[in-house]
């Protein structure tokens, strides 16, 4: 019944099947919405956060999706600025994934702050010395850039595109897209870095504190590198997941392997510096404040296995897999490396967020543990469901994949 809205020359499932799928996802969305309204009504007292763990699942989730959404700015930079033409096969998807990740992260932040009604203070009373101020400004501006990048894709919808004004508007926006890609690359690089800087400046938290270059702690640069080391491959994973769900080929493997190569190269650079940084931190910084590497870990929940999983299994291993052509060009190995890569970066964000504040810095204090409760999981799940809804609608009605017709002949 909605066939007239489909992109030119492609097949989609029946409307009934689509409605059933959307209803299934909406159920998760509504459950999260209930939790969100409860949080706005009662405050974050309904979460599992406390005075020791002011940051928890939400901040980890935010940092992780922002890193995973980095495919948008980095692919945009490579496509529009460095003119790597092959990436046009996947650029639309990176924009949608980026938009979902950033808009979702902003929604989570409004829940996370104790006074959501004062959220605008971040723009009105900015503290120029705070890395968080930079994050607030850059995330908002970059989200606007992503909307500007997403709009022409919506305007290219078959029926909308028949309206001459919208057709020309979309065309002209495309013509100037290099400008927005450039702005996006600038903004995104800075806030990815500032998210790392947020932790690196914490002089009272030995797990996170780092010295650095000028006003930027080393974590600033490490967060930028790790984001561009996982963002492109995350888009590939999303694409492959969509292919499995829909049973249709959407992007050729050559493009996916190129994205893997890009991510792998950046991940290799990142992991090299990450290992150096960790070594210097453990052998130089920690002893200088009287602490030891062993003191940074506790039991199983905050054990060393987390750091080794992050750096070796989900860092070094996928980096080697992605830069080795024979491994990268095998689909199963490419996706395995991609999954490990994304887990590693998410784990890194978790450790900097939760482990860093779990460590008792006062010698007479003790370790505390944190577990998110249902309200935090439900609202995070709501963002994932929101992503599924946006992606499902985009896939069904917008010309996201330029190769789809050719690949499914």
């Amino acid at each position: 019944m909605d066939r007239a809205l489909f992109p030119e020359g492609v097949e989609r499932c029946s409307f009934g099947k689509f409605a059933l799928w959307m209803g299934f996802i909406t159920a998760f969305f509504l459950f999260g919405l209930f939790a969100m309204l409860l949080i706005f009504y009662k405050g974050i007292v309904v979460t599992g956060l406390d005075n020791y763990f002011g940051f928890g699942l939400w901040i980890t989730f935010d940092l992780a999706v922002i890193a995973l959404g980095a495919g948008a700015f980095f692919t945009g930079f490579l496509k529009y600025i460095l003119r790597i033409k092959q990436l046009e096969n996947i650029i639309n998807l990176t924009v949608i994934v980026g938009f979902i990740c950033y808009s979702g992260a902003m929604l989570v932040l409004t829940m996370d702050i104790g006074q959501p009604i004062r959220a605008w203070f971040g723009y009105w009373h900015p503290n120029v010395h705070s890395m968080l101020t930079e994050v607030i400004f850059c995330i908002t501006c970059y989200c606007l850039v992503l909307i500007i990048e997403y709009v022409p894709l919506i305007l290219e919808q078959k029926q909308l595109n028949k309206i001459p004004f919208l057709h020309h508007l979309a065309h002209n926006m495309h013509v100037n897209m290099a400008l927005f890609a450039g702005i996006g690359a600038f903004l995104s690089t800075f806030h990815q870095g500032s998210l790392g800087g947020m932790y690196g400046v914490l002089i009272g938290r030995p797990y996170a504190f780092r010295e650095g270059f000028f006003i930027w702690p080393w974590t600033f640069f490490l967060f930028v590198l790790s984001a561009v080391g996982c963002g492109p491959i995350f888009t590939v994973l999303v694409c492959t997941f969509m292919e499995k769900l829909t049973g249709r080929k959407l992007v050729d493997f050559k493009t996916k392997a190129l994205m893997g190569k890009i991510a792998g190269t950046m991940l290799t650079v990142y992991i090299f510096f990450k290992i150096l940084d960790t070594w210097a931190w453990a052998n130089n910084y920690l002893p200088s404040v009287g602490m030891t590497f062993d003191q940074m870990f506790y039991g199983v929940i905050y054990g060393k296995w987390l750091m080794f999983t992050e750096i070796i299994l989900c860092g070094l291993v996928p980096a080697i897999m992605l830069i080795t052509p024979s491994i990268r060009n095998n689909p199963t190995m490419l996706y395995t490396a991609g999954i490990l890569d994304c887990i590693g970066v998410t784990l890194n964000r978790y450790l900097f967020t939760v482990q860093a504040i779990a460590i008792p810095v006062l010698p007479f204090d003790s370790w505390q543990t944190y577990a998110p409760n249902w309200a935090e999981w439900a609202t995070s799940g709501m963002i994932v469901a929101y992503g599924f809804l946006v992606m499902s609608l985009s896939y069904r009605y917008l010309p996201v994949f330029p190769q789809e017709r050719m690949l499914n002949k």
């Binding site: 406390d50 009373h125 400046v201």
Partner: protein
């Protein structure tokens, strides 16, 4: 990292050998600052304790077992970890005296300052304050209650400083050169053993000036370089050693690289 300096530096010296752990300072603080009792205070990681007394142990078996009590207000750091991170300038260290302020109507409750403070001196207001019936008659008229969703902390009973300055003006004195004892936070006033001494660390006429230089005086986590304005003192070495981390060297007095 350089500590912010002022002509006046309000500070405390807490003699841990005199502290009995009675908790009067905690109670006085709650009363003075209108901290409402929580309906369910079973989760101690959610209670509001601007002043918190820790129990320290030398971890030895009897008869060598010893304990000490350590009252922990806000350290009012010279180089505070919490101030530069606040995205909305809701906390600052810009007033003569060096007290780290907290501006409740400005705070958005992001809790970044709490993540930054290694002393756990900052607290989040999880719920709106509700005072049990009758208790409103005993509230302090000087301190405003804070709404849900903002971070709050010890401010050395700042309204008492304002009052002491007003009094000095009325009596023709200099509000920027208060006499020793003219301004005193509630915890200092109430301490039954006189374990807490308060005053201007830079004024030679104030007792704290000398006490802070005592050979047994120390500050918490000195090596991190936060330069607290709260000092502790104890004649017991094991107590002094618990003021900082020495795991890397095994002995007190290791090099201070990051101050």
């Amino acid at each position: 990292m350089k500590a912010k300096e002022f002509n006046i530096k309000w500070g405390m010296v807490i003699d841990l050998d005199k502290c009995t752990g009675c908790g009067a300072c905690m109670t006085a603080c709650q009363v003075e600052n209108n901290i409402a009792p929580m309906v369910d205070a079973s989760n101690k990681l959610r209670t509001l304790s601007w002043m918190l007394v820790y129990e320290l142990s030398n971890k030895k078996a009897a008869p060598d077992a010893e304990i000490a009590y350590l009252p922990r207000p806000c350290m009012q750091c010279g180089n505070p970890a919490c101030v530069p991170v606040c995205p909305v300038v809701a906390t600052d260290k810009n007033e003569e005296g060096g007290i780290v302020s907290q501006i409740y109507p400005r705070c958005i409750g992001c809790r970044y300052c709490m993540a930054a403070c290694p002393y756990h001196a900052r607290y989040f207001n999880w719920e709106d304050p509700v005072f049990p019936k009758g208790m409103e008659k005993a509230l302090s008229p000087n301190t405003s209650a804070r709404p849900r969703g903002v971070v709050e902390k010890c401010n050395f009973c700042h309204t008492r400083l304002m009052k002491a300055k007003d009094k000095a003006r009325q009596e023709g004195g200099n509000p920027e050169a208060l006499a020793d004892g003219a301004y005193m936070p509630a915890c200092v006033e109430v301490c039954p053993t006189g374990a807490i001494t308060f005053g201007d660390l830079k004024n030679p006429e104030h007792k704290v000036h000398e006490l802070a230089k005592n050979e047994n005086a120390f500050r918490l986590l000195e090596k991190l370089g936060l330069a607290p304005q709260v000092y502790y003192m104890s004649k017991r070495e094991w107590v002094r050693k618990l003021g900082d981390n020495y795991a890397a060297t095994g002995k007190a007095g290791a090099a201070k690289k990051h101050s």
